[in-house]
Symmetry: C2
Subunit: 633 residues, 2 copies
């Protein structure tokens, strides 16, 4: 969809929003979070701005007639919450806004470049209500509502519904809480729902947990929703590993027994509860003040977490049960946070493109600029995202196993003892995780090693180990010696056996290189298909983000050298860490970020690679290693 | 609140609606239920009408610009769903509307005069969806949504949320239902919630149950929501009778044990389930096609049904936990209807003015006319409602016990063997329920008897039995003989002991008459306070509705004779039966009726009688019996 550009004067900030979006949202996305007590109902009149050009076709609404003079309307003044954007505009900010701009809390997560205003979905209001009397016999619930209206947290209801939903469970304890607290209570609002009433003033206690549900690892971060501060981080192995290392094996496990789906759901919920438990212990936060959990994950984990049948994700045409964002009562799933708390799951994009990809796009800010960027999230699956504010394409490839250590002779995951860095000078130099004895090689170590062997000419463009006699003369003697044959097959020794023979040699085999070629070929072919679909030339890509536990751990130079990613200058290849998890944190801290994420999920165009001839063709070509050439960009 | 009058031309119908209401609602209230596929979203453009005067100040909305020409707008044409009414208007209907008018099903319940369009909150849509392909990989849920949009049941979502809520539980079965039914499914919508997806075309099966939760009796009616037909009616004793005959004793029972509230809730739910069970057996309807239960009841039953603490209803200032209408998942309360079905409880008005009173106002149409009417609902409590379209006042008095047989020497409830009618000619003539031997006297029998004794002059204005020598000469001998003394106290023998002495005499004592005077005095004083508050003169009341199991069973002439109700011509005193229950049926069958009921609950002004000096004064005066005078009105 063609977006609308909004330029703010004098701040100079530009943002792109979908047509029809309110100007208020554009302000929030731009980080211009003005304190508007009425939350966009048009009641307070504080969001006055001047627009250019003056959009005469846009209806002036009743709230605007109330807060603006006719002269102001003639001059282009409007209330930002009342304006639906339909064309590019320039917005002139009042000094009030600029004051606020100085105070805006920057909630950017580490390694990512997007700033959103700190404005969580959950909020608290402390109310001192009058006790009922014979003259004021309002019911308990309606008394609370009136208090909220008087605090301008709700529109004054001339008549009818004010849109505030109530939790039926909460009514059970309401009468005693209100009376015991002498009608001084703190109300917790979640969007338009009242989810808790607490005795006294607890407005200082407002927390949430952001979850990243990975295929291999599940991580949680406890955040203070008033400051954006990260108070604790905990991670655990995904308990589904016991069923299968990849999602496909988990899908087939579900179909093998009637109770399997419920079992897998229970495992996730139990692990999430463990993570929460540890977060609470580390931070000293009380469970009752944790009101929301946000979660990203691939579609299979998303389905298993909710107890939804993932069967049809595993069969063409790979259809999920649901893609839209879901808000579920935490207690319905058995997740132990505040009694009325919610779980928010980021929307999915397609069968093999889950909320994790939405998180990556959100956290990298790829959707924000008119220039084209590429994000590659490599975990067990590889997700590729290419685009700009104009359009974003995405595809996914089964890139993973080789990078995660599967099917590699001495492959292992990136844990203590794994060779994660390899350099070759006079001889091989290894970087081992935990500075331990090397036990195997991780995906990034493998990429480093192959990149070095390519550079030295020990491997040729086709991935073949050259016979010793064809290896270039400049290769040092110590390195040449490492090229050995085992049962007639060539391999390269990264680490010789331990002195006492208690450690076997660690080698890279010809088969290992073939596996790497398949994996990197799939990724590179995916990138190539997206480039073609989007119609961009290689030099139009101005930046590459490497995301994911694995993706952000690899050496960009090596990834480039083996042709895993396009040939850009190194400073334009940015490791962004766990961008999906950062996305979960952003949507926890900012409802603007959440809205943005939901827009992203609707707008990203998923490109299905399976069955595409151009993908097959590109794949065959991309299995070769590139000739060295000066980087572009 | 001052209401807006809408007059429809050429039908001549006039309705009053609160300012700000849409013209679409006014049409529905007037029974002009045009088939508008888009349900008021402004999508279909079918609700075109011409208004006079032309309200130029009213914004013309985007949907109107799409469906109307500029010339039409100049002439006053608008879309009814887009117009918020702010002043009295005349609306000219197109022939389309008049066609529909002929077809409108009249869902008036017996004995009540209000017609609402048959338009239940629950609706069904049969969809034939395309199966997913590689070209059409939409998720299951989103595929359903698209089907609804294509059937114009939902607005086309340019972007963002279309407002459709989904039941998380439903997602679990969605994939298998859709595939097993070959993507031919029937979708059940409840307001903006999708509550069920059924294989095949089940659109012919749409049922609901209306409950009247009385202090003594609980009744349920099963209705066909497509035709309005009542398929079965069942009633059961309220199981709380075992705890106490009146609501006050039930409130105090709750405070006597921690588990008592849960116990009472369980009893109601179990009885409701029994009622449903019998309704299903009688009608042959399948439980899975019963999607909604509506319920009326006093505030105490309302609270106990939901498990809400009624304690503060029993202590000044008599504050309920909540008054607004509540929509609760039936399964959350353990009520067994369709898995995704809902329970709707009519709103309360005040501590002792529950949804049953709202039902009475709705069903009698008291809110609809500019002329003042009085409704008296006499059960264990007496509820008095006085007003018109302009304003409605209500109060409640503890009128009940005498009318229900309590504290009356030979009093009993109106069951088999109760004397329910008494006439005196040459001698006493009794009407006994079930044509059985008389065992006691019901409230209506007592009122009849006292009215007759007053007429004959056996009782004087103060309620005193005259000494035999002062009884007027015209009183027949057989009647005089019945005036006896027992232990120095006068009483009147209605029925002599049985021939074999197996039946004791049934008498009316001086104390019985005093009890009746207290009860009728309270009611009459309540009416008098409301008249004063509303500022109406006696002749301004043009009609009286007698409602409630007891209220509608009494002889209007006798009620008038003892001064229980104002002195109107008999044809203006109408027994309307169980109007509260009729209200529950109306809101089940018509969302317009529901909206009306919610408006009524907000607008009725509750007058608290306790502590009012003018009530005490009126009470003392009203205990006297009236002098006979020609009826007014």
């Amino acid at each position: 969809m063609k977006k609308v550009k909004v330029r703010f004067v004098p701040s100079g900030v530009e943002v792109w929003v979908p047509p029809g979006e309110t100007l208020r949202e554009a302000l929030l996305i731009a980080g211009l979070s003005l304190e508007t007590p009425c939350a966009g109902w048009g009641v307070c009149g504080k969001c006055k701005v001047r627009m250019e050009p003056i959009l005469r076709s846009l209806e002036v609404t009743t709230p605007e007639l109330k807060h603006l003079t006719m002269e102001e309307i003639q001059q282009g003044y409007r209330l930002a919450c009342q304006v639906n954007l339909t064309q590019d505009v320039e917005v002139h900010l009042s000094p009030d806004f600029l004051e606020v701009l100085k105070k805006t809390v920057d909630i950017s997560r580490p390694s990512v470049g997007t700033a959103f205003p700190l404005r969580p979905v959950v909020s608290k209001v402390y109310l001192e209500l009058p006790a009922p009397t014979l003259q004021d016999r309002l019911a308990d619930w309606e008394r609370l509502e009136r208090g909220l209206v008087e605090n301008r947290c709700l529109p004054r209801q001339e008549q009818g519904d004010n849109g505030l939903h109530l939790d039926g469970e909460l009514l059970r304890t309401l009468p005693s809480i209100m009376r015991e607290a002498d009608y001084r209570v703190t109300v917790v609002l979640y969007e338009n729902k009242l989810i808790a009433v607490e005795p006294g003033d607890t407005s200082g206690q407002l927390y949430g947990v952001a979850l990243d549900l990975g295929t291999t690892t599940m991580a949680g971060a406890l955040l203070d929703l008033r400051t954006g501060e990260q108070l604790a981080v905990v991670s655990k192995a995904n308990p589904h590993i016991s069923v299968g290392a990849d999602v496909i094996s988990r899908i087939s496990f579900v179909s093998q027994g009637e109770k399997h789906l419920a079992d897998l759901q229970e495992l996730i919920v139990a692990t999430v509860n463990l993570i929460i438990e540890e977060l609470l212990i580390i931070s000293g936060v009380n469970r009752r003040y944790v009101y929301e959990i946000t979660a990203v994950g691939n579609t299979v984990i998303h389905h298993l977490f909710l107890g939804l049948d993932p069967t049809f994700l595993g069969q063409g045409p790979y259809v999920p049960v649901v893609t839209r964002p879901l808000t579920v009562r935490a207690r319905r799933l058995g997740i132990r946070i505040a009694e009325g708390g919610y779980l928010y799951l980021l929307p999915n994009i397609a069968g093999f493109m889950g909320g994790d990809a939405v998180g990556v796009i959100l956290a990298t800010g790829l959707y924000q600029s008119s220039q084209v960027r590429l994000a590659v999230d490599i975990g067990t699956n590889g997700e590729i995202i290419l685009g700009s504010a104009e359009e974003i394409l995405a595809c996914s490839t089964a890139a993973g196993p080789a990078f995660e250590g599967s099917r590699i002779k001495h492959g292992m995951r990136a844990v203590t003892g794994a060779v994660e860095k390899v350099a070759i000078d006079d001889d091989v130099v290894l970087g081992v995780i935990g500075e331990a004895e090397p036990h195997g090689i991780s995906g990034s170590g493998l990429i480093d090693a192959v990149a070095e062997l390519l550079r030295l000419g020990v491997i040729d463009m086709t991935g073949r180990f050259l016979p010793l006699e064809e290896v270039p003369a400049g290769v040092p003697q110590k390195v040449r010696r490492r090229l050995v044959e085992d049962s007639g097959k060539r391999e390269f020794v990264l680490a010789w056996p331990g002195e006492n023979g208690d450690r076997p040699a660690i080698t890279i085999t010809q088969e290992d290189i073939r596996e790497l070629q398949l994996a990197k070929g799939a990724l590179a072919a995916g990138i190539s298909v997206l480039k073609k679909e989007l119609g961009v030339k290689p030099q139009q890509i101005i930046e590459i983000f490497l995301a994911g536990a694995f993706g952000s751990g690899i050496n960009p130079a090596s990834a480039r050298a083996i042709g895993l990613i396009p040939n850009l200058k190194l400073e334009r290849i940015v490791a962004v860490g766990n961008a999906a998890g950062a996305g979960a944190q952003l949507v926890l801290l900012s409802s603007s970020a959440r809205k943005q994420a939901e827009g992203i999920a609707r707008e990203v165009r998923y490109v299905e690679l399976s069955g595409r001839e151009d993908f097959q063709e590109a794949f065959l070509g991309a299995m070769y290693f590139p000739r060295l050439s000066p980087p572009g960009g």
